[in-house]
Subunit: 465 residues, 2 copies
């Protein structure tokens, strides 16, 4: 099949040098390792369609890969070498960007930061962002319905995708890029492909919604007594302004780890609080004094006893310093020792109680562990992390981790939540999805997968248990 | 099967009196007529599941029906009596309405106006609205991804649905009402059911997003030279305010028909213009003078030569009078004679040219007809109507209508548009979808339908050609 691709598409479309393949066979955290005889790198939608037809003919599964930034091994091929990597990196054009309709058409391999820059140059903004923005790609973001830190105001990818172009498992091209705002001609194939992790086809291009550029932002750091107080603050702010787009919860414990391990960081507040919140409010209107608005409201919240203390970043450098604390938590935890991460969600209103109760439950069931959470409280999405109290237990990760994860997933499921809020299922969570997934949903997913990919050639072993 | 349902669910769940069934066997425009031996009327999700299991066992197809307001015969059973009506009217509870999360849980049979009132009483608003608001139901709105006049700002149902509860064709219950803002556990069954017209399952309840109540609105009537000028006005306004939520294009010809046939109507402007626009801008902020803002901007547009004239409704009664003109166009056309309606969309930027060119093309190909469009210009969605120049051609509707519709659909398809923007496919457009639907999409739809409803018991003969 590889030689057939080379014959049809030329040598540029096929990489077989093992040193060039190797970096793409493991995920960035080094948890998943696969094998692939080649990397296929098509340069156009037609070339992707040709590859998919050959894959079907030869019964060789394809593993689509963008920036290889999956948190769940979603872009790593099986270890038996039965599948071939399909890299979208050569499909990296922003095909168009229309300021009137505020729609950008980006090919799957366009890097998020590149798209953000292109929007910025047009006086607009693509509002989704996340840590991997310098390497993750638009196709992967759509295929995983990625989230990030600005979901509160703008939604995850599902809300920002206006259309999808994809090659379906039979080699046909689905073109959802027509730019129609309304189209009720049946099942939404676009919506089905969003979050399908490449198991129903290869996303080749995406129409993306842009929003007005930011004229000003205000970033605040707030100390509160509890996650419940943090949620009260969010409700208080949301009732009075529509500008809040980031609202990140940070445990005092996480802050201390960052201060200890990340050079150049300092505590935003002089006072100590059990929980902290990073707030970002933005405006597209240059005449709005967003800093003054946020300051006034935080003053009211302080007087009302909702919060313990607050400080507003006085300039962009300080705003970046606040965000750096938030963005460094995982790195600080890794410096401290082994960390077991869970990307989970429950209903927003339920998260404060869940966070407190689940942490206590995990620490009780697994003595010597510290459980905590940080992240997108306003989305009901917390990165629930469990770590060993000391570095001593080097094999802790292997010995206790699966049982801890099962407990966390059980608690989430009992609370009506999701074991994957924004990172997807990939291969990492597929067994847990099989164990805990709602039967009706699992049944429907399996039926759809069989119907659209009867040969099983699209990203095998991912998402669908 | 009917007696089995009566036995399990009791007499209340089964109506067999033919006089009680008859009103539900035809659509409100009297174009589609079906047969059904009974109306099944379950009172709970469990009862729906029981009925679906019995339907599967007895191989009797079900036709879900809400307010029976479909524009495309989507809720009318086959004429051979092979299927049974499944009325959702007894599932009419608003289960909850949470002002904090701004989510309402409404059963499928809740009437739109009832939900709007419930939201209003909680100081909130459900922003989707349309002519049939007094009889259409939430289940039908979700199943058809309904649109309406406020889509410009708030989106169609797809954007307003936060979760779906449905009984799938195997009788299992899909529960998407968990209230999770983020959930990446695989294919979105919710999204698949939105717009599926009951062909993949019966929607039993919907979680709906609410928005802040309107504090004030401004309604204006504007005269312009052309659809292109109307679109320029929209872009001009959108760049300066986010408050525009209604932007309805009306041809002078349509206005004259309304003034002639609808008692009590009068022209909003003293001057005459080839095209008119009805604009509604709203604000949730009581301190914003939305009327003054809109007036200033329309003044600028007038000075810049974008528009020919404009008037702002000076009070609510006048605002209602402006809307009444827009809402009476179809009625006025019917009073004038036979009208052939097409609910179509193209990309927003393409609509002005399409409207002018397609009208000319139809009038040229079918002498004696008048082609025109009105509606949601900002969504690229026009109700493209063709009528006979006089009442004389009584059989015109039957003789020429199919050929006219084929021409319109061909023109729309050639322009990359949709033959159904917001009304769906139902049975009315199924042949045209088969003729013109993108092959990849038709193939995927058929595969999904077979996979999830292998017995073909869900709303046969609709949507999937």
């Amino acid at each position: 099949m590889i030689s057939a691709v080379r014959q049809r598409l030329g040598p540029k479309a096929v990489v077989t040098e093992s040193s060039e393949i190797a970096p793409w066979l493991a995920d960035w955290r080094g948890r998943f390792h696969g094998q692939s005889a080649a990397i296929l790198a098509p340069a156009s939608t037609e070339e992707v369609a040709e590859i998919v037809r050959l894959a079907a003919e030869h019964r060789v599964p394809l593993v689509p890969q963008g920036g290889n930034t999956s948190m769940v091994g979603g872009a790593i091929p099986p270890s038996d070498g039965s599948a071939v990597l399909l890299s979208m990196r050569r499909m990296n054009r922003v095909r168009s960007l229309d300021p009137d309709s505020r729609i950008a058409l980006a090919e799957a391999g366009v890097i998020l930061a590149t798209l953000q820059d292109a929007a910025h140059q047009a006086g607009l903004r693509f509002p989704l962002t996340l840590g991997a923005r310098g390497s993750c790609t638009i196709g992967g973001l759509a295929s995983t319905n990625a989230g990030g830190t600005q979901v509160l105001k703008f939604g995850a990818m599902r809300a920002l995708v206006a259309g999808i172009e994809a090659v379906l498992p039979d080699g046909s091209v689905h073109n959802g890029l027509s730019g129609l705002k309304k189209d009720n001609r049946g099942y939404s194939i676009d919506q089905l492909l969003i979050g399908a992790e490449g198991t129903l086809g290869v996303v080749t291009a995406v129409a993306l919604r842009l929003v007005p550029a930011i004229a000003a932002r205000a970033v605040a750091w707030v100390g509160v007594e509890s996650p419940a107080a943090a949620l009260s603050l969010l409700r208080f702010l949301e009732a009075r302004m529509s500008a809040v787009e980031g609202f990140e919860l940070v445990a005092e414990d996480s802050l201390q780890l960052v201060l200890e391990h990340i050079p150049g960081t300092r505590a935003p507040l002089a006072s100590q609080h059990p929980w902290q919140v990073l707030i970002e409010a933005t405006t597209a209107d240059a005449e709005t004094d967003i800093g003054a608005e946020l300051e006034t409201l935080l003053g009211e919240a302080l007087s009302a006893g909702v919060i313990g203390d607050a400080t507003l970043a006085s300039n962009e450098a300080q705003a970046e310093a606040f965000w750096r604390i938030r963005d460094s938590i995982s790195e600080a935890e890794r410096a401290q020792g082994q960390t077991l991460a869970h990307d989970i969600s429950v209903a927003v209103a339920d998260m404060p109680a869940f966070l407190v109760e689940a942490s206590a439950e995990v620490e009780r069931a697994f003595p010597g562990t510290i459980a905590s959470g940080f992240g997108h409280l306003g989305d009901g999405n917390i990165h629930f992390h469990v770590r060993a109290r000391s570095r001593s237990a080097l094999d802790w990760y292997k010995s206790e981790a699966p049982a801890i994860t099962r407990l966390v997933d059980d608690l989430v499921t009992a609370a009506g939540g999701s074991i994957s809020a924004e990172h997807g299922i990939g291969q990492m969570k597929i067994a847990e999805l099989a164990r805990l997934g709602p039967p009706a949903r699992l049944h429907a997913m399996r039926a759809i997968k069989r119907a659209l990919d009867p040969l099983g050639i699209m990203n095998p072993g991912k998402l669908v248990p």
